[in-house]
Symmetry: C2
Subunit: 283 residues, 2 copies
């Protein structure tokens, strides 16, 4: 008996019906049966089984217990259901709308399922509102500050969703592993930084030409640019780091990532923008 | 020959190997072959084929041309790949990060693929900034107005994502059809309205007790509450209506929905909040 990862070669073997029909009737089974069987254990995670069947194009895979006794099989049509539900489930969980068959939910059930996800988002929004009220003096002196709040939180929030989507799907399809943590995070930060510089310049440029009153104009535009870069880099960092960490501690990254990332990105974006702007404007 | 939707019964039939082995050797094929065959046309959409195989647990489905001649088969392992890629693709497309294998993209390619989606979001954010600058006078008189911008856009944006996720996945899995348009939209608006009332009261309550200066305190709290209700109902409406309309005109709802919905929700939220607040506060 040899063990290679999830593949277990059991004593015994299998033969296809096709082979039984064409082989010489006197030939003993042991001469043509296939002995190297890929099987799964009764405790194997069903998503792992699905990945196995999908990768090797099996029509079925035998399930054995700890003593390598055959206790059942998983067929390819079960696997299709698992893959379809798992992928749909991930999308729905990331948006906090339940696991599956949301279309047939009643209004009340749909409301109840979405409530907790929105509560996280509400707490985050209120935290952002506390931060803004802390900058009340700056806002009173220069109401124009408020103008760029949505574009900065929006750009951060959107790239945060992109990073976390890539990582959550990568984990689900087995293409990203916990050991790649720093490589994945470093790549996302790089993408966030490049996109942050591009959009920071663009939005800063617009800010410069819409608010023309010297001497604040250039300083304000620089503050807006820098805030976009900060918000987008930090969002890419959090969008990738959060699901990787959840995965490490065995919390489903799809459930936890959505509200956690968008909420913390909002808070960080608002705080960094107002801090940078207050500093640049010299209030 | 009879046609039932995508199922075509062709002249001829099939038999399983198992049956060929156990049947009497002299029995003619036509006596035991299965004549009612579900097949697909060469022009059938591959997602439709996948849904068919998944629903009926087929191991393979024959493909026929317009004259019902067998031209090939689609096997279950192809179907697994289609389902897995389709679901992953939908998630990634909704976040604007490409179709698949994003994990193996280079930094530059990852940047280029995310750029256009973020550009839509940037345009929306700048549109929101133009709207806010139109309310410069109100903001100068009452800087506290800015405090609730992120929580209102955030609550709208998040329920918008929830509604569009439910609808995009419902369309992809075939559980929501174009003809259900108004039923789906009505349900989402109801959920948006209920959740809007709940969170509108909660956030308005917080607003009331954080800004205590009479006589504006109560009026301001009411304006915040009403803005949350408006933003969340409109977001649920747009989040469900936009993908249904895209589907009707044959644009992939997963691609178009993400940036379009978050962007328009931001603009509508900011505009309705500042309009309502300016009116309630009597500026």
């Amino acid at each position: 008996m040899k063990y290679i990862g999830a593949h277990v070669s059991v004593a015994g073997g299998v033969s296809s019906l096709r082979q039984l029909v064409v082989v010489h009737p006197e030939k003993p089974l042991k001469d043509f049966m296939i002995r190297d069987i890929v099987s799964v254990n009764t405790y194997t995670d069903c998503e792992k089984v699905a990945q196995l069947v999908a990768r090797y194009d099996f029509l079925a895979v035998p399930v054995v217990d700890d003593d390598n006794r055959l206790v059942g099989i998983v067929t390819v049509d079960d696997v299709i259901d698992i893959i379809s539900e798992e992928a749909t489930g991930d999308i729905l969980k990331m948006a906090g709308v339940g696991e599956d068959y949301v279309e047939t939910q009643t209004i009340l059930r749909g409301t109840r399922i979405r409530l907790p996800w929105l509560f996280t988002s509400c707490l985050g929004g209120l935290a952002a509102s506390f931060i803004i009220s802390g900058f009340h003096d700056s806002l009173s002196k220069f109401a124009y500050l408020a103008v760029y709040i949505p574009v900065i939180t929006g750009m951060g929030g959107n790239i945060g969703i992109q990073s976390s989507t890539v990582v959550v799907r990568g984990i689900a399809t087995g293409r990203i592993n916990a050991k790649d943590l720093w490589a994945v995070v470093a790549k996302e930060i790089s993408i966030g930084l490049i996109l942050g510089l591009i959009y920071g310049m663009l939005i800063g440029f617009v800010a410069k030409f819409r608010y023309m009153e010297e001497p604040l104009s250039l300083r304000f535009a620089c503050a807006v640019s820098l805030a976009v870069v900060t918000s987008m880099s930090v969002a890419a960092l959090m969008g990738s780091l959060v699901p990787m960490l959840f995965q490490k501690v065995n919390i489903d990254p799809a459930v936890a990532t959505g509200p956690f990332v968008t909420t913390s990105v909002d808070v960080v974006s608002v705080f960094s923008y107002l801090t940078i702007a207050t500093f640049f404007l010299g209030f």
